[in-house]
Each structure stands twice: as C-alpha cells, then as structure tokens.
Amino acid sequence: MTAIGVPVRGPTALGDDPSRFARLTWTLAVTQFKLKFYGSVLGYLWQLMRPLLLFGVLYVVFSVALDFGKGLTHFPVMLLLGVVLYTFVVEAVGSAVNSVVERENLVRKIEFPRMAIPAAAVLTALFNLGLNLVVVAVFAVVSGVPLHAALLQAPLLLAGLVAFALGLSLLVSALYVRYRDVRPMTDVFLQVLFYGTPVLYPLEALPEDLQPWFMLNPFAVVVQQMRHTAIDPSALSPFELATGLQLGVAAGIVVAVCVVGYRVFRRMAPRMAEEL
C-alpha cells in the first residue's frame, strides 16, 4: 500500500520531533515555576526560605544542641548544601509522581510527547536548585570557604544527580497512572533516602567500617563528593572511602534507574490517555 504523509502512530513517550519535546518541556517547566508562587507576596523568596528554614532547624538541633559537627570544618555549609540537594530530589520526584495524573486533561485531549510532563517537573525542580545553590554559594563565601579548582567537578556531579532524579521521576510517574500505591511508596523511599545519606549527620559520625557501604547510595556519593570538592578537601572523597566495586554499584543504580524508568514510561505512554 502506498502511504501518504505521516503514519499515525499513537501517543509515545518522546514523540518524533526532539525539538518539540524540548520546547514543550521548557514551556511547561517555566509555567510551573512561575505559577508555583504566583499570588504570594514574596514570590521566589519563599522558594529560598524553605530549605533555609529546614537548614536552620537542623542546624540548631544537630549542630548546636547535639554538636554533630564537632571538629569538622564548615559543617553548617555542608549541612545546607546537603539539604538543598535533597530538596531538589524531593521536589523533582515528589512532584513528578502525580504529574501525569494531574495533567489528565492534557493527556486525554492533546497529542504530545508524554514524557514532557515528568521531565518538566524535574526541570522545574532544577530551576529551584539553581536558585538555592546561589544561596549556598553566598553562605559559603560568608563562612569563609575557600574556592577550590576541584569545584569544576560540581556540574558533572549535578548531572549525575539530575539523571538519578529524572530516572526515578519517569518510573514513578508512569507507574502511578496505574498503581496508586506508588505515591506513599515514593514518600517512604524519599524519607529513607534522606536518612540513608550523610546530610544531617557527617559521615565521620558513623563507624569507620560502615562508611564505605553508604557509598552504595548514589545520592550519598554525590553529597560526599560535593563536600570533598567544594567545601572541605580534607573530608574523604568516595574514591578514598569505597572500593571501585561499591562505587560501580552506585553508578550502576543510577544507570539502571534511568534505563528502567525510561523503558517503563515508554511502555506505558501509549495507553496513558485511556488509563487515567
């Protein structure tokens, strides 16, 4: 049979036109970002306040009252950085979970690359991360953290973190369409992630033979390496702490999450409109 024009292929995760996917993701993310604090007087300031307030509480409780950071250089800066990075993961994954369901009216009425929705959720969280990192930088300078050349690694580490968050977001947002249990499971997972990462306690507070095992957690690797490069070179880097195998597992988790998330989403995308 002679075909004319474009065959109708039904909805897909990415669509045929990558630039359309990119434009759509960008537009959705910008809109979401604008709307987030629309109508509140202080606007973006609230976006900065949230991690700062969490940091304040944690700092008073764990650093001042319980003295976790005793003998460590720049523990408050490290704490703030950890909180900001964790906030990014929570925002990205937490808002991605129900993003597809929330935008039901779009999914059921318009043809567009479905993956733009969770991708936009992650991108919005990334905008916030950018703003928050400015605050961390200011705080670091005020606290007298010197600038290290190794800081150039930071974008690479952030890219790894974004990949991790994106993979998770794709996975949970696709599964949530069919299984509503995914949301509480995600919440629990994010809690576990927080306490399984040396954010509010320094890695040094753990028994020495346990420390390498924490490096199986890719988020912990990112946090620890950020600390090592940006804040305190005397802190052990994951490469000194853990074996290559352990780090390989951590990297493998990120890759696996991305691959599985992408594949699950791609598989679910064609039928999302009717399952909502």
Partner: protein, 477 residues
Amino acid sequence: MSSGFEGFLDETLRSFDGCDAAFESDLLQSGELRRGEPDRKRDLHVGTVAAAAGRRDNAGMAAPGPAVVVDGLHKSFRLPHEQVHTLKERVLHPFVRATHENFRALSPLSFSVQEGEFFGIVGRNGSGKSTLLKCLAGIYHADGGRAWIRGRLSTFIELGVGFNMDLAARDNIVINGVMLGLSPREARRHVDEVIAFAGLEQFSDLKVKNYSSGMLVRLGFSVLIHVDADVLLIDEVLAVGDAQFQQKCHDQFTGIRRTGKTVLLVTHDMGAVERYCDRAILLEQGEMTMLGDPHEVGMHYLQVNFEQETQEPVQTPGDSEKVARYGNRSAEILRTWFEDEGGAPATSLPHGRPCALCAEVVFREDVDDPVFGFNLHSSADHNVLAANSEQAGASAGSGRFRSGERVTFRVRFDNLLSPGRYEVTPAVARAGAWLDRRERLASVVVTSTHSTDAVVDLPYEVQLDRSATSPSSQALA
C-alpha cells in the same frame, strides 16, 4: 485486512473520482461493515460523492489526493469490573486480579479524506466518534489497522484544554500553541490575532479564571483556528458560545473550506454537516454504517437516533392507564400508530416524506354513518392536523357497520411538520357524540436536518425581483 481494501486505497490514491465506486464495491464485497450483528438490519448506504466533488470543483479547488487515509483502524478498551474488596478478602486472596472486559469502541473501519475536504463524522453518543478522532489525533493508541495523515495536524477535542486558570490569556495562548505543536516564537506571533478573533482585547491580561465560560470557549476556538494546520480534527465545538460567536465560527468554517484545509468534524448538528461537509460517515456502535452524501447521512442519523430513542421505554401518554378516554364505547379504538411512506409502522418520520396516521377500531354495536377522525398535537400543544372521514368528502356517510366488525382507518398526508414530538388523538363519533376518543394515545418524532421555529415546515421558494418594474408603475403605464 482484505486485499480488496488495499486495492481500494491504491485506487483512492490515484484518483478521487475512482474512490467512490471502488469503495462501494469493495465494502459490499468484503462485508467489512456488516461484521458483528448479522441479524440487525444494516444497510450500507454509499451516497454519491459526485455532488460534493462538483461543489468543490465549482469553488475552483483541485483534489490532489487524500490527506487522511484510515485503513482498518480499530480500538477496544479494557473496562475493569469495579469490585469492592474487603480488607479480609484482600488479605486472604492477595493475588486475585481485578477482572475486566473488552469493550470494542471501534470496529475495523476504513475510509479516506481528500485534501481540502470537509468530512463529517456523525453518530449517537457512545458510537465511537470521539474514539476515532482520538485515534487519528494520536491521543489513543489504536489496537490495529493503520492511518496516515499528510500535513500538520491540529486536534481540538475540547475547548480550552490545558488553559491554566491562574495565567492571563496571553500566556495561555502561547502555552496552548506550544502544546499543539507550535514553537514558542510562532505562538507568540499569533497572540494578538488570536485575542482579536476571540474579541477579548480588553481582557487579554486578565487571569483566565475570571473569564466567563463563553469567553473561554471563544479563546479556545480562536487558538485552534490560528494554528497553521493542514488537517484539523474538531470535536463538537459549534454548540457553544453566543450567537455572534457561533456566526463567527460558521464564517470561519466557510473560510477554512476555501483555504483548502482538511477538516474532520465530529458533530450532532446535522445542519452543520449539511452546510459544510462534502461527505460524512455515520457510526453506530463502533461500526461505520454509512459513508457518503452529508444530507443522506444526516437523515439516516436522525432516523436511527429517534428509532432507538422511541424503542426505549419513554413514558408516552399511551403507556399510561390514565389516558383520558371518552365515549359510550359502542365502537372501541384498539390501537393507533404511524406508518412511513412504505407502509411500515414507524416511531419516527422523516420530514418531507409521505406518511400515514392509522387506527384500528372494533364495533361492539351496529352503528350507522360513524365518523373517524384524528387530531395531531405538537409538543407546544398546537393542533396541527384535524382530519376526519366526514370532511374528507364522504357526504353520503360511511355506511352501516355491524357489531364485531374490525376497521383500520388510515389518514395519509405529506409530512410537512417541523421536527419534534407529536401526539395523536384518535376518535370515532356519530351525530356529534363520541363513541370512543382516546387522548394522545400514541406519539411520533418528526426528524429533519434543519430546525425551524415555525409550527409547520412548509416547502417554499424565495424569489427576489429587483430589476422588474413595480406593479404600480406598470399600471400607470
């Protein structure tokens, strides 16, 4: 897919004129459209497309080939059985999966739409119209079959989809444009036009949540119209908006026809189908039962629609035991019904065709010269027809009727009634006294592709003689 269909499609690609004959014979041969319910009467009407083609040729439009080809597309949905499990059951049988059934929303169907054609898709609620549109739009994943679309596609399933209530019209237009496939730059370029078309210049910076629903509709439609698409898929948009805006939409449709865009329009408005569409298809329970001339499809749709409606147990006056009844019953009206032009009992009658009012009467006593009559009332309670055997010229009287005799009484007339429901009151009388009169015993729905405010819909001709001299000046000369 039968090879016959492929042949048909190849044929279609070669020439537009060849399409209909090939399609007709093909459908009839393959029996594709008859699948499913053999017992149901399912005539395939393949109307003449020559008229439509001619119309376009008059407008100076060439028909370069199909813009949309649908080949055996079908779609089923999984309908889960909603079951409430108690926690105990859940714990005892954790792996029992929810059952579901497959609902066939769209049986395999094939057709093609020419470039620049205005193509109507009609059918009752739940007949699969929107499913078809969504499959073509790429919103649903079709289970099988194939479809092609040539050119940029724009879908309009619902007005104002994706409008964000907290944003101003301008932002929403850009976002909506991007969703529909424009680049942000293209979308921004159109903003002013879109707002102007919607007539919302004063409100362009107002949050959309403060818009009236009519304003939202206008904005939504305006966005759609301004996406530079070659193929438009439109689902039910004419039914909304105020009169002025509807006129604008109509004008716009006329404009679209002229620009050579291809439109697939899902609608219940048979007037719109007739006015704009070159061809139309009729869907019934997911099957394409008719393809062809929009007028014929429209008439058939109305017929099917009201037949099914009246078969459902609607509370008609005749059903009620308390229907008012007068007379001494020396003659009894057993039943009354309507017949179409073929003489078959009908619950709906198409406008403009002959039809008949009928009643069966049995005599309980000997009666001389009884008069048989009907009154037909519209739903607005106008008596639109008073017919009886006396007025019909039987001046000598109807003669003597014996006890026990059965009579079928029929009044034939051309159905010039305006569309709507009508109720009939049959009566038998003698010398000014009722023998039997049963108020509003039966009802019928008159269907028409156009509606009117008038009590009846008489055929008429319009004439304007502007160049002719007036009668008065003629008289003077």
